[in-house]
């Protein structure tokens, strides 16, 4: 790939980061508040606040299981051996302090389709603190990807991520008039991998990741029942000459159908490719079922 093209990409990513900071410096948000008829008395009494908190989430999460219906190259272990057949994951999260501080963990498992589909081949564990202040989201995360059925390369990193969030229904006055049952939510940001033990900068397991740029969009096509989503994730290489230039791009596009409030069927495609030189391209198409659970604080108080 030509140096000129890479410079263009680096500039584009730079502008994206600048625009995020521009967004953060924007005027204060309109409150998400709607009123009709006579004004209500203030409901900010201590008892009311306690009653409200009791209804909010104590902890929640979801189980998911996915079949990689097409997988020519997506590896089943961190050392790039095998091919993923099935994926199972448990996600758990709990608010430690309102929406400002949340803890979550993901325990993700892959099986190897070349070894019978059922036996697990990789275990990826993530532990993170995350939060939101106005439009600004953040997380500090530790992830460890390890082989499960034999010894081999173990990849681990810790990163700090900063993102800025956009909601069309809130930020664009014409959106709700034009699309009352649709919404577009997006965020973009950058992360620094401040700890890195064998977390590579390309899908062919070369280099060592230093920065990460993320961009994500959810297009709610109908009342959060049908959602089209896309995600891009770029890594840079701390061993490369230009440490800001992306060396790997992972993109996902998917369509989720939520046929119940707590159940979702989705189909998605992911492709991970090297940007600065030819190399392994890991890709697959998966069909996934997700089941969520949510325990309000009042259950704990009972």
């Amino acid at each position: 790939m030509e140096q000129r093209q890479l410079t263009t990409l680096a500039r584009a990513v730079g502008l994206l980061v600048l625009s995020i900071f521009g967004l953060l410096a924007s005027p204060p948000l309109s409150l998400a508040l709607e009123k009709y008829g006579r004004p209500l008395p203030s409901m900010e009494q201590p008892d009311d606040a306690a009653a409200r908190e009791a209804e909010e989430t104590l902890f929640g999460g979801y189980f998911l299981t996915a079949a990689f219906v097409s997988n020519p190259t997506f590896a089943a272990r961190p050392d790039n051996t095998g091919l993923v057949g099935l994926r199972h994951m448990l996600h758990l999260e709990t608010d430690l302090y309102k929406q400002y501080l949340t803890f979550y963990t993901d325990q993700n498992f892959f099986s190897d389709r070349t070894k019978g589909w059922i036996e697990l081949s990789e275990w990826d564990g993530t532990f993170a603190l995350t939060g939101l202040v106005d439009r600004l989201g953040w997380h500090i995360q530790y992830e460890r990807d390890a082989p499960f059925d034999k010894s081999g390369i173990l990849q681990a990193y810790s990163d700090a991520l900063l993102t800025s969030r956009f909601q069309a229904i809130q930020d664009l006055s014409w959106w709700q008039r034009t699309f009352p049952n649709q919404n577009l939510t997006a965020y973009a940001g950058a992360a620094w991998l401040f700890y890195n033990s064998n977390y590579f900068a390309r899908p062919d397991n070369t280099g060592r990741a230093l920065f990460r740029y993320v961009a994500h969009a959810d297009l709610d096509l109908y009342k959060n029942r049908v959602v089209l989503y896309g995600d891009m994730n770029f890594f840079t290489d701390r061993e490369a000459g230009n440490k800001l230039n992306p060396t790997e791009m992972d993109w996902i596009i998917g369509l989720a159908l939520r046929f119940r409030e707590d159940m979702e069927l989705s189909v998605y495609r992911e492709q991970d490719l090297s940007l600065d030189k030819p190399g392994l391209v890991q890709k697959y198409v998966a069909v996934q079922l997700r089941y969520s659970f949510d325990v309000p604080k009042r259950f704990w108080k009972k």
Binding site: Q5, T8, A12, E34, R38, T57, H139, F166, R258
Partner: protein, 126 residues
């Protein structure tokens, strides 16, 4: 390929810049139609309120709906990225057994979630 990626990243950047000025929220249709309904009508379509508070202005009925977890967090290839826990509180002021005031309040305030209040009352409209 790199040009296509650059163009996409640029589009996202300009889009974010374009969103820098926040706009007021347009009113939702169901909230308006609750005005004039009796308490019995409300209970029959939206269920019992979580709380009833007597104030000098009248009784305030309180409802809450939390956004589904599936909306709050998405999974990716080896993990997830958590969204924001959010929901909507609906306060209905009653006068002479009729709804005379409606207030939807998103929590946290930085996330627009009044659509979840609309979900509470979606069976209350014909």
């Amino acid at each position: 390929m790199t040009r296509a990626i650059s163009a996409l990243v640029l589009c996202i950047a300009f889009w974010l810049i374009g969103c820098a000025a926040s706009q007021p929220i347009e009113p939702s249709p169901i909230g308006q139609t609750l005005l004039g309904k009796s308490k019995q009508e409300l209970i029959s379509c939206a269920g019992n309120p979580l709380q009833e508070t007597k104030t000098a202005e009248g009784t305030v009925l309180t409802y809450y709906k939390e956004a589904p977890m599936l909306e709050e967090s998405l999974s990716f290839s080896k993990g997830s990225r958590s969204g924001v826990h959010h929901g909507c509180w609906a306060y209905l002021l009653m006068g002479d057994d009729r709804v005379v005031g409606v207030e939807y309040r998103s929590v946290p305030p930085s996330v627009h979630a009044t659509d979840h209040c609309e979900e509470i009352f979606h069976t209350c409209v014909p």
